[in-house]
């Protein structure tokens, strides 16, 4: 009996457990999934929760119900990994051996990294929405907001769902407009990047969106410190932004288990071959999802596309065949723009988001890089698909490789 251990039962880990349990014979391979708790959160829903679209109970399910039958589930805190002896060391002192390890530990926010962020104003005038209680607190704060300046910012790249801060900005604009508070409010989008959009085609097509919605952009704003008492956010270059309400996406890092085990880079992300998803440390350790350092978005769609390649590669690894360099960085994201409309982008390592129709060329129903009602409906309909198709490791009728079909590429 051989042991395959999956570390983390989020989007990536759950899909891998489903796919591998179907592919690996139960007689020769035991699969164990490890996570510290039994709460699987539908993270895309956190964006819409503050606006009353979802309740917290809509977004949480027990991990045991999302994982397949026939895998061992171990809900316990991990202390560290011993890559030499191939063992997981749990905090309670017990151990678990692996022949193959799949790292799907995701990423987490570290608000403590920014001085002052979790100080006086935390959850009173400063809100994160990447956690369930943060998103709920933000919803309550917006309900009682009577006008003033709202600043939305993120500390640095990489973050999960890189478009979320922009979506939050758009949704706040729509929310305040509906409440009749927009003319009493100012919305500022502060980004450490060179602008709200950094890719040529997206800048050209969407650059006007922020002016049109009267959202002020503060670019190259790398936060050095937040003064919660005075409600001021400082930048390393001396700029200061005052706020009445600060919506923050704190710095991201990889799992503490990864950092303690010396498997990560400075930020705790696992150095991983970007086409095969084998880690650079160890041939028996693979990684996918937000936990890796591969240069594509940290998003559920990426984990899903990677799972197809990684399943095939783990089977090849077991059979002693060379791995296929098949992962192309494919990502695919809805972007809420408010007022019941959304954008959709589809891209990979080499191709920036392009306009067009998706998934059917010329037909859609989704419009790439262009606002539409259909995209918004797609975003809302995705929750069912996530729980019932995606997490079950079922195939979507969309290839893991990005397709140029339906895209209007630059002539």
């Amino acid at each position: 009996m051989k042991d395959l251990v999956i570390l983390g039962a989020g989007t990536a880990g759950t899909i891998m457990a489903q796919r591998l349990r179907r592919e690996l014979p139960a007689a020769t391979w035991r699969i164990t999934v490890v996570d510290r708790d039994d709460q699987h959160i539908y993270q895309p829903g956190l964006l819409l929760l503050p606006f009353g679209v979802y309740r917290a109970s809509d977004l949480v399910r027990p991990r045991r119900l999302t994982l397949p039958l026939g895998v061992d589930v171990r809900l316990a805190a991990v202390d560290h990994l011993d890559t030499e002896r191939r063992r997981v060391h749990f905090a309670d002192g017990s151990q678990l051996a692996w022949d193959i390890l799949v790292i799907a530990t995701g990423s987490r926010t570290v608000p403590e990294d920014t001085p002052g962020l979790t100080g006086a104003g935390w959850r009173r005038s400063i809100f994160d929405f990447y956690t369930l209680d943060g998103a709920e607190a933000l919803g309550a704060a917006l309900e009682s907001f009577a006008g003033g300046r709202i600043v939305v910012h993120f500390a640095d790249v990489p973050i999960k769902c890189p478009v979320a801060p922009l979506e939050m900005t758009f949704l706040i604009d729509a929310f305040l407009t509906r409440r009749g508070l927009r003319n009493k409010s100012e919305i500022v989008y502060a980004t450490p990047l060179d602008g709200a959009f950094t890719k040529p085609r997206a800048s050209a097509m969407l650059g006007g969106l922020l002016t049109q919605k009267q959202i002020r952009v503060e670019s190259n704003f790398a936060v050095s410190e937040v003064d919660g008492e005075r409600r001021a956010m400082h930048c390393y270059d001396g700029r200061t932004l005052d706020y009445d309400l600060l919506v923050t996406v704190p710095l991201h890092a990889g799992s503490e288990v990864i950092m303690r085990s010396g498997l990560g880079d400075d930020a705790g992300f696992v150095p991983t071959h970007k086409h095969t998803l084998q880690t650079k440390h160890h041939e028996h350790i693979f990684a996918l999802g937000d936990a890796t350092d591969v240069p594509t978005s940290k998003a559920g769609s990426v984990a899903h596309f990677q799972s197809e390649v990684l399943t095939a590669n783990i089977l090849r690894h077991i059979a002693g065949r060379p791995l296929l360099p098949d992962f192309d960085g494919h990502a695919n994201c809805f972007i809420e723009t408010g007022f019941d409309r959304a954008l959709l982008i589809d891209f990979n390592y080499d191709t920036e988001p392009l306009p067009g129709r998706f998934p059917l060329p010329g037909v859609g129903p989704f419009t790439l890089l262009e606002e539409s009602r259909a995209n918004h409906i797609g975003k809302l309909g995705f929750k069912w698909l996530y729980w019932n198709v995606l997490l079950a490791g079922r195939e979507l009728p969309i290839d893991h490789r990005m397709s140029m079909a339906g895209k209007w590429s630059a002539a």
């Binding site: 640095d156 790249v157 990489p158 890189p162 478009v163 922009l166 450490p192 990047l193 060179d194 959009f197 950094t198 890719k199 040529p200 085609r201 997206a202 800048s203 050209a204 097509m205 969407l206 650059g207 670019s219 190259n220 790398a222 050095s224 390393y236 270059d237 710095l251 880079d265 400075d266 930020a267 150095p271 970007k274 591969v294 240069p295 594509t296 978005s297 990502a331 994201c333 972007i335 982008i345 988001p353 306009p355 129709r357 998934p359 059917l360 060329p361 010329g362 037909v363 079922r394 195939e395 979507l396 009728p397 969309i398 290839d399 397709s403 079909a405 339906g406 209007w408 630059a410 002539a411």
Partner: protein
């Protein structure tokens, strides 16, 4: 406190009934499980087939799109839209009344001999520039040409028909629009009717420029876009419009110096330490480092990075190191 014989049979009966119920439940569970596994199997079989079908549809639609069908349909939509906005229901009703007449006219015009004649006339119109000017004598001389003679005959016959039609129109003022068009064309008068004016080309509607012609995005301030900086020496090939190298292997230290001069910035050892570290990190990790990573990797505090590369250290380091512009996915 002795044994309780009267209760024993009762307990046995209860146990028997529970056991029966358990049997029922087990059977029902087995049936539900069977149905569920049938459903699972169905979905399992269907998924790859759906993908296959989807691939086929995508391929076919992609072919249509490349051939220009969707762009054509889109433009056709605009044409229809223009017609709909220009015609009132009254106009359409009158057009409907005349549909047989219109089709008759179209049929007469599209007879092969008529088409041949019209085609030749159209050809002659194209060569009108080259025709010699004719005076009175020239006209007389040309009149001897048998082809011209024939043409004059046709013209006279045509004029006769036009005159007859005009005569009829004069007597019936409530003639439908199409005949009134003939009247306008032949006899002049009070000007074209309203619906004819609608047919004339209207002010061109601003048509959205095709995507491919979109100008390069204005997302880089001019001072930081050396390719467009005033008086900038022409950059070697391999630079994108944003001033970032598209191929990091074409980088040289001289290039970094030239770029720095345009910012303007004089590169010190401290600058070089950061630039060299960023290049080696990009080569190892395959992505441009963020400010925090530069700070810890190159051993320079973030505040000092802002002093070395004013305003936007992440962007400037990438530009000078000849690695891709750090950015999000959008």
């Amino acid at each position: 406190m002795n044994t309780t014989p009267p209760e024993l049979p009762h307990a046995q009966a209860t146990l028997a009934s529970i056991s029966h119920k358990l049997d029922d439940i087990t059977t029902q569970l087995a049936q539900i499980a069977k149905r569920q596994s049938a459903l699972d199997e169905f979905v399992g079989e269907l998924s790859p087939l759906t993908r296959l079908a989807m691939d086929g549809v995508v391929e076919r639609l992609d072919g249509l799109e490349r051939a220009g069908y969707f762009a054509f349909a889109h433009e056709l939509g605009r044409v229809v839209d223009r017609v709909v906005r220009s015609y009132g229901p009254e106009d359409v009703r009158r057009l409907g009344d005349q549909i047989v007449g219109i089709l008759d006219t179209v049929r007469n015009f599209t007879q092969s001999d008529t088409l041949t004649m019209l085609n030749e006339v159209a050809g002659a119109m194209h060569e009108a520039d080259e025709a010699d000017p004719k005076g009175m004598w020239g006209l007389v001389r040309a009149g001897k040409d048998p082809e011209v003679k024939k043409g004059m005959g046709v013209m006279v016959a045509l004029l006769k028909h036009v005159g007859r039609a005009a005569d009829r129109i004069g007597k019936t003022p409530s003639e439908p629009p199409l005949v009134r068009l003939a009247a306008y064309a032949g006899a002049g008068g009070e000007g074209p009717p309203a619906w004819v004016r609608h047919l004339a080309p209207r002010r061109a509607r601003p048509v959205a420029a095709p995507i491919s012609d979109a100008p390069p995005p204005p997302h880089s301030a001019p001072t930081h876009a050396p390719a467009r900086a005033p008086g900038a020496a022409a950059l070697p090939e391999g630079y994108g419009p944003d001033g970032f190298l598209t191929d990091p292997s074409r980088w040289t230290p001289e290039l970094a110096n030239a770029l720095a001069a345009m910012i303007p910035l004089t590169l010190s050892d401290a600058h070089w330490q950061v630039i060299n570290w960023a290049r080696s990190d990009h080569a190892a990790a395959g992505a441009s480092p963020n400010i925090r990573r530069i700070s810890s990797g190159a051993g320079v505090a973030v505040r000092d990075l802002y002093a070395l590369f004013p305003g936007k250290p992440g962007v400037l380091v990438a530009m000078l190191a000849g690695i891709p512009k750090p950015g999000g996915c959008l």
